[in-house]
Each structure stands twice: as structure tokens, then as C-alpha cells.
Assembly symmetry: C2
Homo-oligomer: 222 residues x 2
């Protein structure tokens, strides 16, 4: 039963199973409910039973979707960075990082559901500063991101993803994105306006370029 972290390798299902899509949607729904409870009552004071009840599933099923309580927060925590990585995956070789990220930020949908979602993301990110269990989920999420980042960078630099330089770039770039995420979330939580966000896109791109010694961020040869 697909423990939650691993990538989806097998897709060949004959009949009966649940679609990958639906699994993800389920995980997300659970995660949002868990995030709300974590935020309102704290992690320790939120039981697996409460989360399960909030979603309307049995406790046993909850533990089939998530290997433990903390990791219930991961899908929500991952959303922003995950989206960012998806954007990075289709980053054209001939475009700079700034331009590509700005293009993403401007084309992003902004419906109310999206917004209440972003709210949950920010809350979890801020919570990750204080609550050790959420911190763990936050770090584990970025650990996964780092691996994806290695593939993206490897592809961009025409090197294997196990190359030590590639792994270094991936680690430092991901770390930079994480710190800025934390910073932006804290600022938004404190009531900053959206104007500063536009700036942080450029900040992110710059930070990645600095963190990778200029190896990642600029257009590269096809």
C-alpha cells in the first residue's frame, strides 16, 4: 500500500483500484483537515481519531494514507514548493529563472478555494518554526524536493543526477528556496501585502543563482 513518500512507479492497474488522481485528492483532503486541527489545537492535542472523524474515514484508513501523524501535514506543506518544482520542470533552457518564475506567479489562478488553501500552507509553514513534529514534516518534504531538484539541475547541466556537484547545487538551491519560503510565510502571517511577494520571486531566483555559484539560474545551451 503505497507508503506516502515514495514516487508513483506502478501505474498499471487492471481493475478495481483507485485512480492515482483520487488517491492524491484524498491525501490532500486529509492533509487540509489535519492542518486545520493542528493549527487550532496544536499537534499533540490532535489525535488520529479526530483527523479521521473530520474527514469521515476510519482511523485505520487514515494510517493507510499516512505513515504517522506528522506526515499528514506534508501534502499541504509541499504544495507551494511542489508547484514551484513543477514549474521548474518545464523551465525552458533559453529562459532565465526570474523570467520563468515571474511568468508562473502571474499566471497562477486566484479563486477563493485556492486562497483558503494558500492560507493553510502559510499557517503550516509558520507552525513548522515552532512545532517539532511539523518541522520534521517540513524538512522531509524539502528532502524529497531536493531529489527532484537534482534531476532538474542534472538535466539542465547535462550531468548525471548522482554527480556530487549536481547534488550540491540541488541541496543549496532547495535550502535557499526553503529559507525564503519561511521568510515570506512569516511576513504574510504578520500581515505583509502582496507587493513584497512580487519582490521575493526575484529574491528566490537570485538566491538560487548565488547558492549554486551561478550554475543554475541563467539560460543554458540547448
Amino acid at each position: 500500500m503505497r507508503s506516502d513518500g515514495d514516487s508513483d512507479t506502478m501505474n498499471d492497474r487492471k481493475s478495481g483500484g483507485m485512480s492515482e488522481r483520487r488517491q492524491q485528492r484524498m491525501r490532500l483532503e486529509i492533509s487540509r483537515a489535519a492542518a486545520r486541527l493542528f493549527w487550532e489545537h496544536g499537534v499533540a492535542a490532535t489525535s488520529g481519531e479526530q483527523i479521521a472523524n473530520a474527514v469521515g474515514i476510519s482511523v485505520r484508513t487514515l494510517w493507510r494514507y499516512f505513515r504517522n501523524k506528522e506526515s499528514c501535514a506534508e501534502p499541504v506543506l509541499a504544495r507551494d514548493v511542489e508547484e514551484c518544482v513543477a514549474v521548474l520542470r518545464r523551465w525552458p533552457r533559453e529562459v532565465s529563472l526570474e523570467d520563468h518564475l515571474v511568468e508562473w506567479a502571474t499566471n497562477r489562478p486566484k479563486n477563493p478555494d485556492q486562497q483558503s488553501y494558500d492560507d493553510a500552507v502559510i499557517k503550516m509553514t509558520v507552525l513548522a518554526e515552532k512545532e517539532p513534529d511539523i518541522r520534521v514534516a517540513w524538512l522531509m518534504t524539502h528532502d524529497r524536493i531536493e531529489r527532484e531538484m537534482a534531476e532538474i539541475i542534472a538535466d539542465r547541466l547535462h550531468r548525471p543526477s548522482e554527480d556530487i556537484e549536481v547534488r550540491l547545487h540541488a541541496a543549496t538551491a532547495t535550502a535557499a528556496l526553503r529559507v525564503i519560503s519561511e521568510d515570506v510565510s512569516a511576513a504574510l502571517m504578520a500581515g505583509a501585502d502582496l507587493a513584497s511577494i512580487g519582490n521575493s520571486i526575484k529574491h528566490m531566483a537570485d538566491a538560487v543563482r548565488v547558492a549554486t555559484g551561478g550554475a543554475v539560474g541563467d539560460p543554458v545551451d540547448p
Copy 2:
């Protein structure tokens, strides 16, 4: 039980209390036992009771020293990087990172106990690649290191440690050190000789310099 006749009796404490020193030594002893068990039987197959028995303490006491099973691995995992950070703390402003690290590596004691210890560190670091629970401990350890690193860098650059640039440098530098640690451990595990380690000191310094855009690594003004 613990007939601890040796001399850490007169450290700073009012009455009855255990010295900080001794607490740390206890945590370390537990951690080494836990590391051995984790390595031999895996984390899941190692119970808190087994760890407690191996050390000769009650299970209740074990949970007084560590908040959960995974974190029993932290002191061992932290040792190398912790030592590295201690070295960084006394990094003279007028010396380059390479020179300072090399000085450390050459002056390090090499008694048999130290060596069997290093062995445990390597095993845990390698284990952290596969076992999610140890991975968590590894990442949490580096999260703590990152905060210490921020203070060191802040001091070196004459900036507050909450400064976003300082935090970025701390995060990327720590990430770089972590990746190289993983790489070196894997190499040693695969039977590499010590010659390559000497190289990796320079590699570390270079990586930190690159990761921080040159802000950290060179001598700076007093």
C-alpha cells in the same frame, strides 16, 4: 547500577543536580547503543526496551533523555558536524576556511575509541539514506546546526543572525556540508581510503564558499 566513579563530580550545580557534562555523556552512551541496535536489526525492529536494557537504565529514563526513538540517533549523527561547528566557532577571522579545517583534521585525536565511534557515525549517516526515521533525525540535526551556523556567520559578517542573507548563507552552507558528509560516509562505507578524506576537507571549504557566493570562507576584516 552505574558505578560511575570518575571525576565529573564538581561542576557547576547547586545541589543534587546532574552536571551538564554528565547528561551529555549519558545521551551519547544511549545514542551509541541505539545506533548499534539500529544498524544490526533496523529501527523498526529495535524497541525502546532493548535500547534501555543495552544501556542498563529503565525504559522510563530512556524517554526522559530522548523524546522518541528516532532522536536516539541524533547525538551520534551530530557528532561530526557538531565537532565541525565547534571548530568553526573558533575560526579566526584572518584565516581561510581551508586552512582552519585542515588544522582541525590534522590535530584530531585518533585513539581506538574515537575510531569505533567514527564507525558508528558513518553507519548512521549511511543508514539515514534508507531508513526514514533516521533520515528525520539526520535532517533535524542539521536543522539545529543551521541555527548555530547562522550565529557563526552573523558574527563573521557583522550582521544580526536573523538577517535574511545570513540565514540564507547558513542554510546553503549547512546543506553543502551535509551533502559532502553523506558522500564521504558512503565512500568510506564502500571502503575508500583516508587519502580521499584529505581532499574532501578542501571540497567542503570550496563548497561552502560557492554556496554562500563567496561570503563565507575567506579571511575577513577583524
